[in-house]
Every structure is written in structure tokens, then in C-alpha cells.
Symmetry: C2
Subunit: 430 residues, 2 copies
């Protein structure tokens, strides 16, 4: 009577979803709005950086050869023939025993090959003319920032797919990108299903709860970089669910439903997939929570059926929806950043399935530790608020002990990963 579903591995589920990945359309937007997006084209240097040999300090531009015999005992006297600030260019050519007073960032005048810092000279004014005394030898190229030492014209400075952080924005400005190539954001529709769901501003009623999954998913979509259309909650009713999903699929680039994917009497999503003639990529995954996570494709658009259980919904999003959004944005590292960490507490319960446990990392003396947060019951919404990672506990017949090394997937991170997390061969059997 109950439908038997065949679970697949997490890695296979991710692969199946990513076969339908798409890159978003490229648009050139104002540099003022580019933070947190990804470069959709490589960033090229249109000029050398620095664009000319320049002084990194306030001081005097000199000819190093003049200073070869300068010492405390035999100081050298140079005639100051010009003074330039940053942005100014001296029109003088510096000759023997001459110098130009120069400020940080200014171009080295013709004839000079070194800079001596202001603090290291003695200044003197004689008959309305400025001189300086130098008490040591200055080497050729001393205190010079060379043209092209940071970046050379034509160089690809950043590959496409790079996350735009403050440093990248500085580079974009340096190279005159007042418009920046990025992807249009994918529009993701959210439909929370379940007759028990109240709207956020409705009073509580017997048997009912407020919809929290829709709001949580909205925040996850925004964190991943997508745009959101949040549809009305949908009661467990086949006709209205079908209509709602069809409308959302027409209006969005991908759609997420929460709830209704299990095998209960009121789980109508499987029937909606049939009506939409959607290809079901999978409807059972060897993982906890979120084993009923289903993904279907209709008209080349992905339709994610996440569990109505808050933790399962959360995990399902991060593993399967996030990489699709980041890929769409042209990210070259669309998956969650992975690492390993030492368990901070015993986790004695065994489970035949791979578990993804909401957890929190701490750093201690160069090592990463990980603590499960709150109760490990998938219904617990409070613990989700403390999580900064998902800890992965491979399924098996034994529990885990404090000090065990386990995989973690970081949630508040912009580094990402080129590859998704994968089960290792030793993982439990399907």
C-alpha cells in the first residue's frame, strides 16, 4: 500500500541535479552594486599597475650614482630643483647632484632612479634655494615601486567566476570597470505546502503552526545569491497545488516546494509531478534528515521538493539548491566549502544513514572543533539558528566519540568549493 522508493547516494543526487545547471544571462551593472556577485567575464588589466615608476614614500627622488661616497663623515649636498605631489609630473630632468622633493604616489622624475625618505635627510635653505644633505649611500631602485610590478597590461587578473569581495571591487575600480559583468540573479519561487500552515500574522489555532520554512528558505536563497518570489502557502489539496506549482514554474527559473513529498495520504507532490509530466530525478536519498527530498524537471526547469520538516528542508536546500544558484551566478566554486573538524562531544547514537547535523565550529590552537547544536531532532527549529556548518556523520553501526575527525560543510562562507561533498567508498550501503 505504501510506495517503496529506492534511495540514491547524496553524490548521485547532486550529479543528477547539476546535469540541469545553467549559467544566467550576463548583464553589465554599475560597480556600485556589484558586491557579493561573481565575475561573469575575466578581469583584464588595461594598463600596468603601477602605471609608472613611483615613490612609495614622501622623500626626495635622486640619482643613486651621486650618493656612492656619501657617509656620516662626508655628507652629500644635493640641490632641490622641483617639488611634486601625487598626481603631478615634474617637467625637469634631474642632473648630477640634483634632487626633486616627491610625495607618496608621485611618478619618479626623469633622470632619477631611487628615493630617499624625508626622515633620512637634512634640509637646508640657502640664498632662496633648497638643498638636502644625505649621509649614506642609496642604491639604484631603492624605494621605487616599479611600473607593472603589481599587474601588467593585458594580464588576466581574475578568472571569471570569482566572488566579488572588497579586494576585487578595488581591482575593478583600478582598471576602470565602472560597469561590471555579472549574471542576472535566478528567480526562485517558494511554495510552502500543508493545511497546518498559518500565515505569519495569523493567531495560532488548534493543530496549526506558522509557516517558518518559507521564510527560512527565502533567507537561504538570498544568502546563496538568488532572488525570491514567495507564493501563498498552499493547503494539501491536489488541484490548488497543481495550479500553484504550474504558475510558479511559468514565472520563475526554478521552484522550491516544502512539504508534501512523502508518502502520506496528503502528500500530493508526486501526483503534481505526474500532471506536469515532470521527469523525477529522484525521490529518496540515503541521508538523514531529508531522505524524502525529491527533485523533478519540467520544461528544463528544476522543481525542488524539499521536506516540510525544518531541518530536512534546510539541509536539502544547502546540498541541492545552493550549487544550482551559485552556478547560475557564474561562480566557479558553487558548492559548500568542505573541511574536517574534531568532534567536541560524544555522539553515541548510531544510524545506518549518513547524517548531516547542524553544528557549530570553534577554533583552538590551529585546529577546528565541531559541536552539534541543540537536540538532534529534525523538528527542532531553535538549533538551526546557531549552526555555522553541517557536520557529516557517515552512516554505520557505531556512534562517534569526542576527538573523532569528521567532515564539515561551512554555511557562512564565500570561498566555496569546486566539487561537492561525496560519500566515501567506506560509507554504509544503500
Amino acid at each position: 500500500m505504501v510506495e517503496r522508493r529506492q534511495p540514491i547516494w547524496v553524490k548521485d543526487a547532486v550529479d543528477k541535479v547539476m546535469q540541469w545547471k545553467k549559467r544566467g544571462e550576463v548583464e553589465w551593472i554599475s560597480i556600485d552594486d556589484c558586491e557579493g556577485l561573481f565575475l561573469a567575464e575575466p578581469l583584464n588589466a588595461d594598463h600596468d599597475v603601477p602605471p609608472f615608476n613611483r615613490s612609495p614614500y614622501d622623500g626626495f627622488a635622486i640619482r643613486s650614482e651621486d650618493t656612492q661616497t656619501a657617509s656620516r663623515e662626508q655628507p652629500l649636498k644635493l640641490s632641490v630643483i622641483d617639488e611634486i605631489g601625487a598626481g603631478q609630473v615634474s617637467r625637469k630632468i634631474v642632473g648630477e647632484n640634483q634632487a626633486v622633493r616627491i610625495m607618496t604616489g608621485a611618478a619618479l622624475p626623469a633622470g632619477t632612479d631611487a628615493v630617499i625618505m624625508l626622515e633620512l635627510v637634512k634640509e637646508e635653505r640657502l640664498e632662496n634655494h633648497n638643498f638636502i644633505w644625505i649621509k649614506r649611500r642609496v642604491d639604484k631602485d631603492e624605494n621605487v615601486s616599479f611600473q607593472g610590478e603589481d599587474a601588467q597590461k593585458g594580464e588576466v587578473l581574475l578568472k571569471k567566476g570569482t566572488y566579488i569581495n572588497p579586494g576585487v571591487k578595488a581591482l575593478l575600480a583600478t582598471f576602470g570597470y565602472h560597469r561590471v559583468p555579472v549574471s542576472k540573479k535566478p528567480v526562485i519561487g517558494i511554495i510552502a505546502t500543508g493545511s497546518e500552515l498559518l500565515k505569519i500574522d495569523e493567531p495560532l489555532l488548534p493543530g496549526k503552526i506558522r509557516n517558518s520554512n518559507g521564510y527560512m528558505i527565502e533567507a537561504q536563497i538570498k544568502r546563496a545569491g538568488g532572488s525570491v518570489i514567495k507564493y501563498q502557502n498552499c493547503a494539501d489539496d491536489l488541484e490548488s497545488l497543481h495550479t500553484a506549482v504550474q504558475k510558479a514554474m511559468d514565472e520563475c527559473d526554478a521552484v522550491i516546494t516544502t512539504g508534501g513529498v512523502s508518502v502520506g495520504d496528503f502528500d500530493y507532490l508526486p501526483e503534481v509531478y505526474r500532471r506536469l509530466k515532470a521527469d523525477i530525478l529522484f525521490n529518496k536519498i540515503a541521508m538523514r534528515p531529508g531522505s524524502v527530498t525529491s527533485v523533478a524537471v519540467s520544461n528544463e526547469k528544476l522543481l525542488f521538493g524539499l521536506s516540510g520538516n525544518p531541518s530536512a528542508c534546510y539541509v536539502g536546500f544547502e546540498l541541492y539548491v545552493r550549487p544550482v544558484i551559485r552556478y547560475w551566478l557564474h561562480s566557479s566554486r558553487p558548492f559548500l566549502r568542505a573541511g574536517q573538524a574534531f568532534l567536541k562531544s560524544d555522539f553515541p547514537k548510531s544510524n545506518p544513514f549518513n547524517r548531516f547535523v547542524r553544528s557549530k565550529t570553534t577554533f583552538e590552537g590551529g585546529t577546528i572543533h565541531v559541536h552539534p547544536v541543540g537536540l538532534d531532532k529534525s523538528s527542532v527549529v531553535t538549533s538551526l539558528s546557531l549552526a555555522d556548518c553541517l557536520m557529516v556523520l557517515p552512516g554505520g553501526t557505531r556512534g562517534y566519540r569526542k576527538g573523532d575527525l569528521v567532515d564539515v560543510l561551512f554555511l557562512d562562507d564565500q570561498t566555496g568549493s569546486e566539487e561537492p561533498w561525496k560519500e566515501k567508498p567506506r560509507s554504509s550501503r544503500l
Copy 2:
């Protein structure tokens, strides 16, 4: 001739700045827009979660006492007297050898004290009535999610100052916060100074460079959570600089200038501070880069004088401006998250000053490694784009070796820290 400034410790500089910290005005905004902000009030549970005893599975609500003798050999037959989905409440009272078909999330009917999963019963229809067969004992409370087990009414679920991540947003929705108490964002003005600065869309000219610091700082302000007003670049001219800073101080909650704080002939910020009758908190810090970072206070508003050098500007922002912005937003952890990591490469050059080196972390088998990115010349803008942390190398007479354990401050992080990074007593002398 050159002004001699007295450097202070980083920790003292942070303390001096934080003496002028303020909390922003609280406003209640739509839950739709609350991501990435901080709770300005604690979040209280207005009801138990779950609000009633409910089923975590699709199955049958039963009376455990009826099942005490049930076994494979002597299965028990129960009469199904009602069927409820999530959001529905049964009006029946379940009596001896009766059951109610129940879906995930639905409230347990009166009289029942346990749930048996759908997969574990055999269903039978006899004379237009449904029955189930149970082959094992079910314990009291089995498969029941209890009222209040996640959160109890009146409980403070999250303290004020909590970062609003997707899990927090879910909690806000659960408890009916359709409006959320957050701080108005601080408005930070940016004035880039220097006659060498071109606007981003101007062609390059001899001796000139495009302003990149203003754009970088804008991205850093947004990453910290502030709003930005970007003013025209300002040439090295005392009158126009004074006018620009005065205007920005009138219009913003705090102002950042870049450049002009050193002791060169065209460094007019010190004179602007005098004209504004601003109190100078410090104008020299024992750190590299960014030793000339200056902070002044005028009319109880902070005026940050960051270096014109891109790396110094970047570091100065993260150490001194970011915590002010996060505190304003009511964050309880306004400082950069700190940790330690193992140096991935030799860093042979010694330096008497504490250095903050833009770096990149990698995770290997439970340990954190850190690599300096690019050349360590403070003018290098390209390396900033790869940094995910600042590595702190205490000043001293020796360099550092691969494998040394050093402090790191994470840049793309939402966990933060209650306390700022501080020099340890063994650090180099001022």
C-alpha cells in the same frame, strides 16, 4: 621639520575608538528584509513549540496500553475511527482498541499516547470500515513530538545582538514576528583624497591613478552592514578638503577619509582636524601596514583617517571601523572572529612592528593553514582580492617559519567575536 608622532598599541587604538561607540536607533522592519541584520531586542517564544503533542510521522495514533501483548504471532486489531491530516484536529476520543490515521505534523487525538508508523501496520477494510493490524508492542510516548520540547512559552530564545541567519529567520516566523526589531544602518561617508586620483571612468593620465580605495571601502562598509555615501574625490587642497569633510560630518554618522594623514607636504588632514576642533584619538599605531591611521572625534562623531595605501586602508577599516558599524547594528560580537593557524610557507623577513598580512586559509585534516597572498608589498592591490583573513605576525627580530602557529582574523565571517584582537605581552616594544 618632520612631525614626530608617538605610536600606540593596536589594542589601545581599538579601545579609544570603542569609547565613542553608539547603538543605532531601533526600528521594526518587515521580516522579508531582515537577513544579515542583528536582533535589537531578544526573541521571546509567544507559545510552546510544538504548540501541541504531535506526530512526527505518517501513521496511526493509538493507546499504547492496548498493544502490550501484540506480537507477530498474536497481532492486535484496531478499529480506525478517524483520519486527520496536518492542520486538522480530530473531534473523536479514542477508546480501547481504536486508532486514528494521522499525518506528519497533526495533533495527537484525545486518548492516544503513541504513534505507530504507516510502514509497520497492515491495513484491512471490512464491511465499509477500516482496521489495522499491529504486530508489536508500542511504548507510551513512542513517536510523539511533545508540546514545548523545542521551546517553551516565555523562553528567551535568542539574545539581542544575534545575527539573523536563515535559522533565526525561521524562528522569527515561528513566533509571529512579521516585523523584526533591528537597528537603522549607520550612514558612513567616504572621501578619497589625493590630487593623483582619477574618477573610475576617466582615461589614465601621466602621474595619475584611478581611485580604488573609495570603492574598496564601500564594499567593506556594506560587508560590515553599513550604508554608504560616497563623496567626490578631493584634491590635496586644504580649503576644499575642509569643506568636504565638514559637509560629510554633518550628513553622516561617521566619515572615512583615505589618504592625506601622513606627514608629507600635501597631507592636509591633520590641519582639517585642527580646523574642525576635532579631538585626535591617535595618529600613529604600532602596526604595519597602516601605521599612520588616524582617528578623530568631532561633535561625538568618529572621523577615520585611513591611509591612502590600499592595504593599509583595508586593514585600518577592518580593525577600527568594522567594530563601530557592527556595534551600531546592535551586534553582540562586533569584532573580527579570531583563530590560529599554521603558517604554510616561510616568512623570513623580520619586522619590528606587528604586521597584518592579507592571507588565505586552507583546511587540512582538522587543522587550519594560512598562506600570505601575493607579494607582501602594501601597494599591491591584486593580492587583496584573494584574502579571506588577516594573518597577524607579531613584531620582533626574527622572521617566521613554515609550521609556526600564528593568529588569524577571519574576514568573510558572521560569527564575530566579543573581544578585539590584542597584542600579547611578549609583543615588540613601542
